[in-house]
Structure formats: structure tokens, C-alpha cells
Amino acid sequence: MSENKTESASGISSPTKPPLFGWYKPQYLYDICEARGGIGQLFLYYSVLAGLKPALDEWIPTERLPRYLKVCEKYGLLTEIESIFYNEASDEVRDSIGGEFLTTTVACGAPAGSGYSGRAHIYVSKSEEALDRIKRTGWYPISVNRRIVTKPQIDYMWFGEHLGYPKCCIDYFSRVNNHSLYPNTLLLPFKNTKSKPNYLCNSLVKDAYCYLYHIPCGFDCRATAELSAELRAFIQKHDRGYADYIDRHMKLNFIVFRERDIYAFDGVPEGNVLKYNVTAFVDSYLYPGELLNVFAHNDTLAIHEDKIFVMSGGKITNTIHKTERAEWFFISFADDNTI
């Protein structure tokens, strides 16, 4: 239940069509984007400044730190550096007991102020109290004597609370989120979605394109939608274009194979058929998006219970099956007129 550390790729789209995920130059908080080196997580700063989110955590290259800390100060944001990550190519630690529970990136760590260059893990908040709470629960697994030590599970839940995630979503996460057991953890909130999916609960487009950074308990979670709506209203006051930009990305259609293995499509589905012009692989940080070419060179999806028929000009060109190893789902936020 940690917020992400990277700028996500903006999606790879077909070279022959305009990109689905574009770049936006913010009208407000642009200096924060410059200092941190990208637009990613920008909406989280809005959320903290609006008082909707008690704190956020960031990963800032050490060479950018002085400038970043100064900009935070300008906006009245307090910061606390937890540690410095360096030598991120290192993977010696993966042989450790419990290594299978580690995450993709493995790095050496050093205390803040130890002089190492790399990326600083930083907590950011408007209040001393919130900063103090989050810094005590937000640490990553470490390797001690070649054994992986994770924080007590409840610390993940407390961390979620300190980051301002809705209680229902934390509860749901605490019960079902288990990467070692479920290949597609996003399938669980999908199955828990009882009514029409609400685009304000769309956590599939992360980083710059989103109002939320937690996995909701369902894509119709009321608490999440309320939180997103409040944030949206706050962003609109400062930079209407940015809110429109986020809305555009959140109101898309998605095929989700697992976290970070997600394809986005434009268009509005009719029944189980989606005719689209443009597709994109949402986040190329972990996976290559191997089906992007298939989708990009076709124009229609027909979704059946356990198959996706990919079609061009009315003819089926590819079929994607649902198996226990590839338990994908299709979800559409395209015709959501909630706001």
C-alpha cells in the first residue's frame, strides 16, 4: 500500500494515430514538477494542499533535493527524508529468504545525510503531526543477514490511513491483496464492483492522469468517489485544464491483465462491443505491453465471458483467452457522466 516511486511512461501508442495519453503543462504547481523532474504525482500535491490527504511520499534524485526542498517550503509543505536508495541495479539480495516477496527494484539503502547519491525517499505533509505519523510506518522491506524483513502487516494498514485512503479500501486491501496468491489483484475490486463503474474510482491510470492513488475496494466505491470529486473541484479552482486532462484519461476503457499490465482504449462500448480509434499501454515500467501492436492494428473488441475477439473491419484477427494465469477483465468508464 505504498504510493509509487516512478514516473510512469505516458503510454506507447500506435505511430500512425495521435497518442491517447499526452503531455500537459500544469498552470499551477509547475515549479514542483520542475523540481521533482516530472508531472507524476502532481495531483497528490493538490490533494495534500487541499487537506484531503494527510501526507504523500516521494522519490527524488539526490541532486535535485536542495531545489525540491526549497519549493516544498514555498508551499508550506514539510518534508522528512526517510533514507537514500542507491545502486538500484543490485539484485544480490534476491537470494535471501523471503526474497520472493520482494519488489522489482532492489537497492542499497543509507540513512539521510550519509552522503550517498541516489534517490531520496521523502515524506511530505502540511502538518508536523501527520508527518510524524507516516514516517513511523512507511518503510520498505529490508534484507538483514540475507533474510527479508517486512514491517508488521498492520503497519501497511496504518500507512494507508496516514496517506488518507478510505477505511473501506484499506479494510478490503488488508483481506484480499496478496500478490503471491492472485496474479491479478485488480480483479478483486472488479469483482467487488456491484454497480456501474464510476470513473472517479478509476485507479488504473496512475501517476499524472488520476485523482486517486490507492486501489479502491470496488470501482464504484462511494468514499473513493467522494474523495476524488473533492480533489477534482479543488484542482478545477487552480487549473481547470489539468482537471479536464485527468477526466479525459480516467474516462476510457481498459483491459486489465494485472497491475501495471493494462491497455487503454477510446470509444464507447455498445453492449459487449467496443469500436476504438486509439489504444495505449498505460504503464511500461514493469511490462513491455506485448499486445499493443495487436490492439493498435485493429479497431474493435468483442468481449465475451472468457475471450476477447480482436477485430479489424468486422473480421476476427486475434482471440485472447482467459486462463488461470491470465485472468483479465474489461472495464469501461467511457460513458460515465457522474460529473
Binding site: 542499497c108 543477514n145 498492520i154 488488508s174
Partner: protein
Amino acid sequence: MIIPFDENLAKTLSVNYGLYSHREYNDYSFDVSNDMTLISQITLMAYNDPDRFKSLKGFLAGYAKGADSDQFLSSAAYCRYADREFEEGMKLTASLLECRPTDLDAWLDVCFFLSHISDGYRTYLNMRFHLYHFIHFYLKYDFREVNKESIGILDSLVRSAAESDPEIREGYDSKAAFDTEYLILNGACNNNCEICPTPFSLRDYDFKERIIRNGSLPLSKYIFIKARKKKIKTFVLKGGEPTFHPDYLKIVRILAAARKDISIRVRSNARAFCDERRLNKHVDANVSNMTIEAGVYSEDPEKHDAIARARGSHAQTVAGIKNVLSSGMKASARITLCDSNIGDLPRTLDFILETFGSRPGFVEAAVLLPPPSGENLSKYYPDAVKRLRDAAMSMIAERQHSECVVTMPNSVLALD
């Protein structure tokens, strides 16, 4: 001083509260309870099932017998953690450390508690980077008080450690692409090896199910799900002695059926394969891509038996490996080093390679260091294990066995 193991309490926690009462950060914690050490199990219970947690607290409060045991002190401490009574919890953990000051896992618990104590955060931050040194702190630190002054003393010890070792390794974000799944089937074994990593508390168990975050799954279903994960290329079945699990053959068949392209490795002492009936059942299961990895400690039967603490085990293991190879299955020999057999390594390798090396199906002789769990932690870590490793490396370097592979894996742990 040995801290008592309260078997009754362990059973009660398991039967009445669904808790596996082990707190060590070893592969048992990760595998048996699926990433859930006792502190995580108890604190999550507090989060998800407050009534049951309340009942657990009430039970522990009234539990007088064995109130100084590992199970009691750790369970009571973790209840305090869940209730955010961190100072009180740390005192209970400190009681463990008074009895067992070299217990790295108890030091980790101290670290968890410190992170939440207002005066302890800075110490925790530095301590986290230098846990390796914790076992030396006990010489100077008074555990009985948790206050600003005592934490200050601890902090100065941590800082001096920091000067000598400024690094740790840390992993974060998203999921790793591991291709090997380790699965512990049971704790029971007909050997009682002195370097066995299995915690005593688990040695009687046959695991019928696996605890997952929202309940439990029958072992067979759990295995099937794991095996179907695309990234898994190898399944390692471990124990205790995995062939003793009542459903062992069923599990092997499930694995083979779930995926045709995975290899299965069984960490066994191979004694069971002396028995023709059991061997034949195994052969009849007709599982391809399976290797029996048998532990051979020495060429000297008496020495092997002494390390395995089972008379006659050497003869049975050697016969078992021969039977496995004769029946067309694959086998390898694993020499886990310890103080008692390091000097014999060249002779043991000669023996293994002469006895099995020319037989079809023999894969390799692997030389391993004692895994860092159980009693090995205090006996071999952090220093003695390096000595064992250096000695073994030089002995292996002097040998040229072109007819068979001898491996000395870099990792101590992946191959325990």
C-alpha cells in the same frame, strides 16, 4: 539461558486462534503462513477481527503457566503492538532478549517498537541500517527500562555501529520476477540434523493447509494456484522430510499436472527410497522433470550419522540415492557444511562422485553452508559461516572433477 518453549500455548494459539506461533524471519515464516510472521498475524487479527483479538488478549492475560515462554512473551508483545502500547510491548520483547540476547529476531521486534515510540524513531532509523550488529549490543545495554535515557544509550551504540558499517540493502516497489517457489510440506523428519533450519515448534507439523490473508486454503489447492503462476519455473519441496507428508505423492502429481514445463526438486534425506514399496509408488507416479536432492554429510558413516543424529541414516541415504538413480529418476547430493564435516569435504566429494557420479541421472554434488535459521544463527552467524565458506572454496578450487559438476553456490540461503 534457554527460554522455554510452551507447547501447550503454541497448540492453543494454533487451534483456537489460527495462529502459527513462530516469530522468526526464516523461510518458514514466509512459506507456512504466506508472508505472515506472528506479529503480522496477531496485528492483522486486531485490525480485521477485533472480537477474536479481544478474546486472544483476554486469554493471554489469564495465562499464568509458562508466562516466561517464547510463545507467551512474543504473543503478548504483539498484542501490545496492535493496541499501540509500544513501550509496554518493547518491555516484553526485552524480556526475551534478556534470556536470549543474540536473538536477531527479537532485536527486529525491538526495532518495530522503537519506530513508534516518540523518543525512539531516530534510533530506529539508524538501527534499521545496522541490524547486523544488534547481537553485540547486549553486552552493554540494559533492557529493563524503556525511556529517553535508555534509548539514548541504545542510540549511541547504534551510532558507533553505523560508523563501522554504513550500508544495508533495501528492496521496494512492485513485484519481483522470481522463478522458483519453495514449499515446506511438513516439519517432521526421521533425521534430527544438527544444522537443521526447521524451528522446533514446527517439527511435528504436517501442513494440511496454508494460511492466507483472508483465511486458509487446502494445501493441494494452494499448490495448484502457485504452480499455475506463469513465472514459476521450479518448485522445491522441503521439510522436515517432505516424503513423509501423508499427501506427498498427491502433491507431486498435482504439481506435474498443473504445469508440464516446471521442474520439481525434492529436498530429502532419501532414506524413504530404501523401501522398495515406497520407491515403486514414486516411480509409478511417473513424474518427469523431478530431482531428488539428498543430503550427504560425510563419506564416514559414523560422522554422517552423528550429524544427522540418526543411527544407520548414512547407509539408508546412500542406498536410497542408488535406488532413485537405478529406477531412472534424477538425483543430486547436497553436502551441508558444519564444524564437524568441513575437514572431510574432499573425501566426501570423492565418495559421492565415485559412488554416484558415473550413474545416469546423477546431476551434481552441491556444497552448502548452514542455513541461517534455528540454532545455526547463533552458532555460525555472522563470522563462522565465512570461515566455513572460505575453507570450502579453497578445497573445491584444488579439485578437478571433470566427470561431474561440483557446485558451491554463492548464496547461502537460496539452497538451504
